[in-house]
């Protein structure tokens, strides 16, 4: 195991151990106690297993999980940023259909292997985005009668 995955394993299992300990602490301190009997049972096992996993990571004995490579992170970063903005802000802030159209088109432009220098490929992306939005609108707004947040746009 190289140092990068080892450090990543320590951070990841450390975070999980922190969650496990917090859950156990909350379970054993909150009232009414009767409402927390089952969570206490679960939290005890959760915390023990999480600390065990953290200990193994610290000792460098983690056998499974490849962590994240720098190349994967580079590829992932733009899509992840678009996704986070879309889900946690734009969908509500701009309106579902507007945000989805923009996010879909941006993701398509970022990850479509077709060249960025040809007009034809840009037209193709616009057509795919429009077709996808029409399908989504037909399925959710017309078929399922889902009323999505419209906010400042559509």
């Amino acid at each position: 195991m190289t140092d990068l995955p080892r450090n990543q394993h320590i951070i990841a299992s450390g975070l999980i151990a922190a969650v496990g300990i917090t859950v156990a602490y909350v379970s054993f301190t909150q009232e009414p106690a009767d409402a927390f009997i089952f969570p206490r049972l679960i939290a005890s096992v959760f915390a023990v297993l999480a600390i065990w996993t953290f200990g193994k990571a610290v000792l460098g004995r983690t056998k499974v999980g490849n962590g994240l490579s720098a190349g994967a992170m580079r590829n992932l970063a733009p899509g992840l940023i678009v996704m986070l903005i879309y889900v946690y802000w734009a969908a509500k802030g701009l309106g579902f259909y507007t945000a989805t159209t923009i996010a879909f088109f941006v993701l398509l432009s970022l990850y479509d292997p077709a060249p960025h220098t040809q007009l034809k490929t840009w037209l193709k992306r616009i057509v795919i985005t429009a077709a996808f939005m029409l399908v989504i609108y037909g399925l959710f707004a017309q078929l399922l009668n889902v009323f999505t947040p419209k906010e400042i746009l559509f």
Partner: protein, 509 residues
């Protein structure tokens, strides 16, 4: 023979139309690498809200069946398994396609899938009522242990690390306790308003299965599967039909292995296909031909991965314990219609249960018929670039989660769980035990509390939960599954260490 009484319901225009839609859509989705059957079914759930319960289940069941079979198309024509269940099909299926026998391989794969699938559904039909009768004797302590068994078995058998598998199950069980306690009405772990009412299962399922796939597709960057689609020449279907039934050994091994593995919680189609392939090779007089485009390899693998579909639903329909992630998603599809499966499902909702099961039987035949005709189209869909597919799935996941309760909170829950699951998967954790924990948590807790009340009023906790042959049987299975997995993990580590030592020695010499 009650299932025959409801067979006619499958052929009403709406039901049959949905069966066709689910089958054709499932075949195309199944052929798309990265879209697993579980994820396809999870994304379809929001579309069943407006449907009658049996109609929704027909759609989901048809999609489940045909996505498993559809994965064979890209496995054979592109050498990219559409789903993990089709890995074994790639070994001989693609070799056949390279030799110009793509049509024959596809025909063999769909016919073998249909034979295995029909056998599996017949097993479901005849086993379910017997087990349902038996399950009526289950009390709260047995249901508690059964729920723990479901999480433990999947946690240990479905994960590459026993500790991480069990930890994933614990995280799922903890997530299930978030929200208001049913008995005292107390708030538990409500750290954000989005989870005040607890974690809704459908957005959670969509997030846990779809979002890690979306992010994985992002990590591939601007690449696409450049694999060339091998052209398919015509091949008489009569010959393929005769060949499947003449390869009785491979067909029966595949069907039997798939059916048995389907009944074991946590052991999915991937294992079924690979074990059937391996066993078929061992018992074949033409062992050497395996891997070079031998029809027995395709028949064994495909009959196995579809034979496991029916039996994998037996624990769900009889004990309300989903035996696989896809069964857990189907449970979500039942719950949104207010139907809770279990021993009394066939008494309270016979039409829903039997129409669903009958539709799976008819669906196997439709899958075989349509699979042969749309294989070319499905293979083309499989070549859609990863980024485009990721954007499509993300859009569907956001709209699908929102439509469950018209709530942005569900979208946040979906995205947060999905993001967390992606990173957990990178560090060796698995989604299946987490989902089972989330689904089985309320069952485990309700029966634990109910059992505690009975125990305190009668024989005491120890006697109530730890005595009686059924409690013992379930506890022994829990311990056995954990012990077996720990032993396997240690043995594997020894082998790895030994291989490493040999490799080092060779390098030094």
């Amino acid at each position: 023979m009650e299932f025959l009484f409801y067979m006619g319901d499958v052929f009403t225009p709406v039901n049959f139309g949905l069966l066709l839609l689910g089958t054709i859509g499932g075949l195309i989705l199944g052929a798309t690498p990265g879209l697993s059957p579980t994820m396809a079914v999870a994304l379809l759930i929001p579309f069943t809200f407006k449907l009658e319960p049996q109609q929704g289940l027909i759609l989901l069941g048809a999609a489940y069946t045909s996505t498993v079979a559809g994965g064979a198309v890209s496995a054979i024509l592109l050498k990219i398994p559409g789903a993990p269940a089709n890995i074994a099909t790639t070994l001989d299926g693609h070799a056949m396609a390279q030799k110009g026998e793509g049509a024959r391989a596809l025909q063999l794969s769909f016919i073998a899938s249909a034979v295995g699938g029909v056998f599996g559904v017949l097993l479901l039909i005849f086993l379910t009522p017997i087990l349902a009768q038996w399950a009526l004797a289950f009390g709260p302590s047995h249901l508690f242990w059964l729920a723990i068994l479901g999480v433990t078995v999947i946690g240990t058998l479905d994960s590459s690390s026993v500790v991480k598998g069990l930890l994933s199950g614990c995280i799922g069980l903890w997530l299930a306790t978030i929200g208001f306690d049913d008995i005292m009405g107390a708030q538990r772990f409500i750290f954000h308003p989005s989870v005040a009412g607890g974690i809704n299962v459908i957005p959670a399922l969509i997030g846990l299965f779809a979002i890690p796939q979306v992010i994985t597709m992002f990590t591939k960057g601007r690449s696409s599967d450049d694999a060339e689609i091998i052209s398919v020449k015509r091949h008489p279907i009569r010959k393929a039909m005769a060949e499947v039934f003449s390869r009785k050994r491979a067909l029966s091994i595949g069907t039997a292995v798939g059916s048995i593995i389907g009944l074991i919680p946590g052991v999915g189609g991937q294992i079924a296909g690979l074990v059937a392939y391996d066993q078929s090779q061992k018992f074949s007089p033409e062992k050497d031909k395996f891997g070079t485009g031998h029809s027995e390899g395709v028949i064994a693998a495909e009959s196995a991965n579809n034979a496991m579909v029916g039996p994998s639903l037996v624990p769900l329909l009889t004990l309300s314990i989903p035996g696989s992630p896809t069964a857990a998603v189907l449970l979500g599809g039942l719950l949104i219609h207010g139907i809770f499966p279990g021993p009394d499902l066939f008494m309270n909702y016979p039409q829903v249960a039997w129409t669903f099961i009958d539709s799976m039987l008819i669906g196997q035949i439709l899958m075989c018929v349509f699979g042969l005709y749309i294989a070319g189209l499905a293979a083309n869909v499989a070549r859609i670039p990863h980024g485009v597919m990721a954007a499509l799935v993300l859009g569907l996941a956001v709209f699908g989660s929102y439509s469950v309760q018209n709530s942005m909170g569900d979208v946040y829950v979906m995205a947060t769980l999905g993001l967390a699951m992606y990173f957990l998967e990178r560090f060796g954790f698995s989604a299946a035990p987490l989902v089972l924990g989330l689904i089985l948590g309320p069952i485990a807790e309700a029966n634990f509390i109910q059992g505690s009340m009975i125990a305190n009023a009668t024989v005491g906790m120890g006697s109530y939960f730890f005595t009686g042959w059924l409690n013992w049987l379930l506890i022994v299975i829990v311990i056995a599954s954990v012990s077996y997995s720990v032993w396997m993990e240690i043995a594997q580590r020894r082998y790895t260490t030994k291989d490493d030592a040999v490799a080092k020695e060779e390098a030094l010499s």
